[in-house]
């Protein structure tokens, strides 16, 4: 019997239906404007894909509209692992429910919500559970969400039936809703969640299989390592693209922070802006950075330590941008973006930049402020 965790954030997406660009902090207003829950319906769509294997799964879920109601209506075997504290669901409920499921060793957590929900799930389980998101929120920036609720259900089914065994790490992104309502998009990277890696079914193939994301990242790392110069400080930016550099060098690292390497040894972990300025002003250094999120931000999102003062001290010629070709293709030809808060620095970074895309392989790519 497979154990499936199910969390529905019933208020996800309600703000959007009444033009509020998100529900964080404005639920009451949304309700006042006549918003109706849509996450439960979308969760049902996903669960429909599991109906014919319902005897092979036990759904571990939360009381009421956080999962119990929908799963029970559809006739699944359910067990409650979390009781909502009050009638109105909050982010604490998602967090606590996910933690409870982790303790139960569920095979997978299927959750319905938006970017805010994904953040809560990440906070609760980190890299300890495999998850799939049912897109139900207003903001869906995290690739942790399947394209459609049905797809989320299909993917869940393939994973539970062990038709998919591999997992991949994807970014947990969220934008600042208050800023978004004011017309600004500030995406931040919060961490990485594990999702099932969907195998592709093919027919009529005439081109080779592309290298896996992991293999591509590894070849980028080897290129950077092979070109490391003695006495130069290598400032390694956050993200899974830069991680294999540290892994290949067998060094500790912080996935979301900035680390510094000198002569292939760790010099400092999770450094602050001030530490970086001290290093960059007095030493020869190179910065390895990868664009964050789907929008292609190089600077100004999710890496606040790399301020314009740091970048000025490092200089454009010492910035190594690392990105797989797949990551670049996701930008659909749109340029990398920089928004350092300083016009002069943005101007310095604009134009074209060489991107390391593999071993002995670079791409010239446009950067726009």
């Amino acid at each position: 019997m497979k154990k499936l965790g199910l969390i529905i954030n019933p208020i996800a997406g309600m703000g959007g239906s009444v033009g509020l660009k998100g529900t964080d902090g404005v639920l009451d207003k949304a309700l006042e404007l006549g918003a109706v829950p849509r996450a439960p319906l979308r969760a049902k769509k996903a669960l429909e894909e599991l109906l014919d294997i319902k005897n092979q799964i036990e759904i571990l879920t939360c009381s009421g509209d956080m999962g119990e109601r929908e799963a029970m209506e559809m006739g699944f075997n359910i067990r409650l692992v979390y009781n909502q504290s009050t009638n109105s669901t909050s982010s604490e409920d998602t967090l606590a429910a996910a933690k409870a499921m982790l303790l139960e060793n569920v095979d997978l957590i299927l959750f319905a919500g938006g970017d805010g929900t994904a953040r809560d799930i990440y906070k609760a389980v980190g890299d300890k559970a495999v998850v799939i998101g049912i897109p139900a929120g207003v903001k869906i920036h995290s690739p942790v969400y399947a394209q459609t609720p049905s797809k989320a259900g299909q993917l869940t089914r393939l994973y539970l039936m062990e038709k998919i065994t591999k997992v991949e790490e994807v970014e947990v992104l969220d934008i600042d809703e208050e800023a978004y309502r004011a017309g600004k998009v500030n995406t931040s990277l919060y961490g990485y969640l594990k999702i099932p890696f969907e195998k592709k079914f093919v027919q009529n193939r005439k081109a080779g299989t592309p290298m896996s994301q992991q293999a591509s990242q590894n070849s980028i790392a080897l290129d950077i390592i092979d070109n490391m110069e003695e006495g130069t400080y290598y400032i390694i930016g956050p993200g899974t693209t830069t991680r294999p550099i540290m892994e290949n060098l067998k060094l500790p690292y912080t996935l979301l922070g900035v680390d510094v390497v000198l002569n292939k040894e760790i010099y400092a972990l999770d450094v602050t802006e001030k530490q970086l300025i001290d290093i960059a002003v007095y030493n020869k250094c190179k910065l390895v950075i990868t664009p964050i999120g789907g929008q292609g931000y190089l600077f100004g999102r999710g890496n606040q330590q790399l301020s314009y003062n740091v970048l000025k001290a490092i200089g454009k010629e010492n910035i190594i941008v690392a990105a797989t070709k797949e990551k670049i293709s996701e930008l659909k030809g749109n340029p990398f973006l920089v928004d350092t808060g300083d016009e002069e620095t943005d101007k310095m970074l604009s134009g074209y930049i060489k991107v390391t895309t593999g071993y002995k392989e670079k791409m010239i790519y446009k950067v726009k402020a």
């Binding site: 394209q147 459609t148 049905s150 797809k151 591999k166 195998k199 592709k200 079914f201 093919v202 027919q203 009529n204 193939r205 005439k206 081109a207 080779g208 299989t209 592309p210 896996s212 070709k325 797949e326 670049i328 293709s329 659909k332 030809g333 134009g351 074209y352 060489k354 895309t357 002995k360 392989e361 670079k362 791409m363 010239i364 790519y365 446009k366």
Partner: protein, 522 residues
Amino acid sequence: MKRINRNFKVRNFHQAKWDEPIIFELSKKGERGILVPKAGEEIEKAVGDGISALPETMKRKEAPNLPEISQPRVLRHYMRLSQETLGADVNIEIGQGTCTVKYSPKVNEALARLPEMTELHPLQDESTVQGILEIMYKTDLYMREISGMDRFTFQPSGGSQAIFAMASIVRNYHRDKGQDEQRDEIITTIYSHPSDAAAPAVKGYKIIYIHPDEEGYPDFEAFKEAVSERTAAFIVANPEDTGVYNPRVKEFTELVHKAGGLCGYDQANANGLLGITRAKEAGFDMCFFNLHKTFSTPHGCGGPAVGATGVTKELEKYLPAPLIDYDGEKYFLNYEVTNNPYSIGKIRMFNGVAPVVLKAYAWIMSMGAEGLYEVAKVAVLNNNYLFKKLMEVDCVDAPYIRGKQRVEQVRYTLEKLTQDTGITTGDIQRRMMDFGMHYWTSHHPYYVPEPATLEPTETPSKEDLDEYIETLKHVFKEAYESPEIIKTAPHRSVCHQVDESGMDDPEKWAITWRSYLKKYKE
């Protein structure tokens, strides 16, 4: 299966499916295809037993490990496999964009199968192979005329090997000039064939890719950033996979020359260019043609082909040895031109795949100069007919150069279809198999989202094009109305959905029977 409705252009089709084992599994000890009788006494007396004349060193100590199997069973085996293949002669071959799969006249096959060709051996004395040497020499002359280059070699046995030959020439040219250490970068574009990057990488070069600008032309500003004293060469296709021709290509080659680099033109597929543009006038130092694409030889299932590689006079001495020449009386293998330490030596044994050169020669001769020009015109016309018809379909689009025509192929996008229905281009690809048609997406990664690359060439008729278009439209309609049938496709092909995860993992590969036994049976 229902009777065919002749008014409905979408054709009924079902591929044969045989539960056919691997030929090694069919082997039965002692079973034979042909039993050769022992020579009779008188015959043996006259000519020997046929075995003892063989030198001892050439005799096998043990029988080869081949399947033991009767003739009809062998025939049945391969007939069945052929029925499980969607070959070029049974489908309207429009869907394999970038491959240039055209109809290749059978008369050229017949010529290549004549014993005068098949019985030749590359080690024969020159005086006994004057015919094929003449054909190779004259094909070289035609290639020179078509490209503007000064000398061709037919040694490379395919496009990637031709690019490898070009990269080798680049290396030796700079070595000759004492600049090899300094020049370690080769520039290409993202919509050129991946081998334009891969083959130079094998040669040890660093690769720099250029993206297109908003119009789809290689971004000249980015190109300027890429060209430097480190540039060894620029190797590029034009038109690229998008079917967009870069009209400023000469400015690109001039910039590279100014920086001291060489320029190589990937003309593997020159179908839209014959008699219209030439490598020389675009400023290239080298180019190559895949004879199995443009020159109709035809494709050999990854088998022996020819990547005819041409260079300017200046680069002639770097070509692989020997070249084929004519001294006014006889044709001969010329080792003199390349007799220097900077020749790239051998790219392949002997002088290339001679029957393929023969087929290309025959095709060129049958077309004539006007015919070659006609090929380009009709290929471009066919493509733009298909382009116009497909762009009228709501869910189809093609990025770049809006309102302008394409050359010989187009990379379309089905992004809207995917957004509307969740059906991806990969799903459409599988469903098209149910109608006996190929449909190709794109090389990876997909820079054009949900891509489809179609290339009709000059050979399909308007009726063929219409049938392909109608079939595509039918599948698009299914995507909106009954997506499930597409998601689970193919239904009428040899096999249904293939799990390709093993293809990413070399540990799981078994590319020979022996490695299969080793990995899975021992």
